[in-house]
């Protein structure tokens, strides 16, 4: 097993100050994808980003990944400015995006090989496969695995680089409801073991509340952070706890899906 990190996380703090990003459409119209975003993420914190499409949550995540430069403001990881993609900021997409021509083991080993670290870190590939419960599937090819298993492999592939931050772009969006809840618990277990800072984009309110230390609610036009809600609950959490329903209601209200509130009617 990969040695669990002990004590509180010391690396993986992200600071976002006054970040702006605009895209220019082909017809010349300008879309404001992020307008003046500030956010501080503590080392080892679990953040979920939620909001309707067009609110800039994926843009913000990709900016942290360094995949596209921002127009203004600054992003830092542990005080160092983010200028481009790097292995210290792992990214997992909604689509597992495994390379179909490589088996699961080689897919996970991919980042290490690219950075010429495979030789010294060979054993870790197996350890991370075990961490995500795929230790017996190393020789299988992606098309032989279910969607959930492929996504576990994608997690292992990002984790093997020992990132200080793991960025998750709706990683469970394509999974069925039960696999999804299972994977949420899996992600929490990995997070508790690795103490990696997690920033996850989701548009599932339950998922956002269940996983996060803090839920960041974003809104479109202009794309901005509307509110940040702390979820001060011990883990493991219960999905049907009354506090949960209350937080869920609060989130839905901010997102304008609150509906008509009534007194509870117990007529079961």
């Amino acid at each position: 097993m990969v040695a669990p990190q002990t004590g509180a996380a010391t690396i993986g703090a992200i600071n976002i100050r006054g970040v702006k990003k605009t895209f220019t459409h082909q017809d010349g119209s300008i879309i404001e994808a992020l307008s003046n975003v500030d956010l501080s993420v503590a080392a080892g914190e679990f953040i979920t980003l939620i909001g309707p499409s067009g609110c800039g949550k994926s843009t913000l995540l990709r900016a942290i990944a360094g995949l596209h430069p921002v127009d203004a403001g600054e992003l830092t990881l542990d005080g160092e400015p983010i200028t481009g993609p790097a292995a210290e900021r792992g990214l997992v997409f909604q689509d597992p995006l495994l390379f179909p021509w490589l088996n699961i083991h080689d897919n996970v080993a991919f980042g290490l090989k690219a950075r010429h670290l495979y030789r010294e870190h060979k054993a870790e590939v197996g350890q991370f496969l075990k961490l995500v419960g795929l230790e017996t599937f190393g020789k299988s090819y992606p098309h032989q695995l279910s969607g959930g298993m492929q996504q576990r492999a994608a997690l292992a592939r990002a984790l093997v680089n020992q990132p200080s931050v793991l960025l998750l772009d709706e990683p469970l969006g394509a999974l069925d409801a039960f696999t999804r809840m299972n994977m949420q618990d899996e992600i929490i277990r990995i997070w508790q073991e690795r103490k990696t800072t997690m920033i996850m984009v989701t548009h599932d309110v339950d998922e956002a509340v269940y996983l996060a230390d803090r839920v960041v609610v974003m809104c479109p036009r202009p794309a901005r952070i509307e509110e940040i809600i702390s979820v001060k609950r011990e883990r493991p959490r219960a999905r049907s706890h009354p506090d949960f329903l209350q937080l869920r209601g609060k989130l839905l209200k901010i997102l304008d899906f609150g509906g008509q509130e009534r007194e509870p009617e117990y007529r079961i």
């Binding site: 995949l67 790097a86 292995a87 990214l91 997409f93 021509w101 090989k113 592939r157 990002a158």
Partner: protein, 246 residues
């Protein structure tokens, strides 16, 4: 019987039609249209010469084809994966690729010192363009998220070409290699019709000049069998390397 084997039934059927047509023709036309049995006899008698011809032809085809595939892949992957290079070479590809490479044959024979060198050159040209176009389009159409993913995992340019773009382009490269193989055979036989004194194309040309049509037809059928074997071999290689592409 599986569907893929049912196609083999076509061959005895075609031979039957051929035998029938040869039978009903007037006797004076028979020497122009030899019957299957006469061709089979000619084929049997010529097997030694045809084998020598095969060896000579392969000494041209194999180096020309392999060089073409190597050059096309080594050059095509970076060009396809780089936007400016793709635009830079697009006009050349549009002009040069559709030129039937057979037009180069007489000039290549005049230009290069030996027949073998010129024949290898035209085979190279014929096989290069289809594989090159396959590699370029394959490397250009790698899903953007695969590219992002490679960047996030810490890949440099060269690593990306070698470990991602090449593999992602392989299906397109193999399509190009199939077309390129057919082109290579066409150019090989055309070049041999022009200037060889040995080889499969030369065999056909030689007996056509002597009006020995059973041998000429035997040469054509034999060449067809060689082409078929080469294509089957390529298809096997493709199946083996692209097992993941389903």
């Amino acid at each position: 019987m599986p569907h893929r084997l049912s196609g083999l039934l076509l061959f005895p059927l075609l031979v039957g039609v051929w035998a029938f047509v040869a039978e009903i023709l007037p006797p004076q036309s028979r020497y122009l249209f030899p019957a299957p049995l006469a061709v089979a006899r000619a084929l049997w008698e010529s097997l030694g010469v045809l084998w020598q011809g095969t060896v000579a032809s392969m000494m041209i085809l194999i180096p020309g084809y392999i060089l073409a595939v190597l050059a096309a892949v080594l050059f095509g992957i970076p060009v396809g994966a780089t936007t400016w290079a793709r635009h830079f070479f697009a006009p050349l590809m549009r002009v040069a690729a559709p030129v039937p490479p057979t037009v180069y044959v007489p000039y290549a024979i005049a230009l290069l010192p030996t027949f073998r060198a010129s024949a290898i050159f035209v085979v190279f040209i014929g096989a290069f363009w289809p594989v090159f176009l396959g590699a370029v389009s394959g490397a250009a159409t790698v899903p953007e998220r695969h590219r992002d993913n490679a960047r996030v995992l810490g890949f440099g340019r060269w690593e990306y070409w070698r470990r991602v773009a090449f593999h992602a382009a392989l299906p397109a490269i193999f399509n190009g290699m199939g077309v390129g193989m057919a082109m290579a055979f066409i150019l090989l036989t055309v070049a041999e019709l022009f200037g060889a004194n040995v080889g499969l194309g030369h065999f056909v040309q030689y007996y056509a000049d002597f009006a020995d049509y059973p041998r000429m037809v035997a040469g054509i059928i034999y060449t067809g069998a060689v082409t078929f074997s080469a294509m089957t071999l390529l298809a096997q290689l493709q199946k083996r390397m692209l097992f993941w592409n389903i």
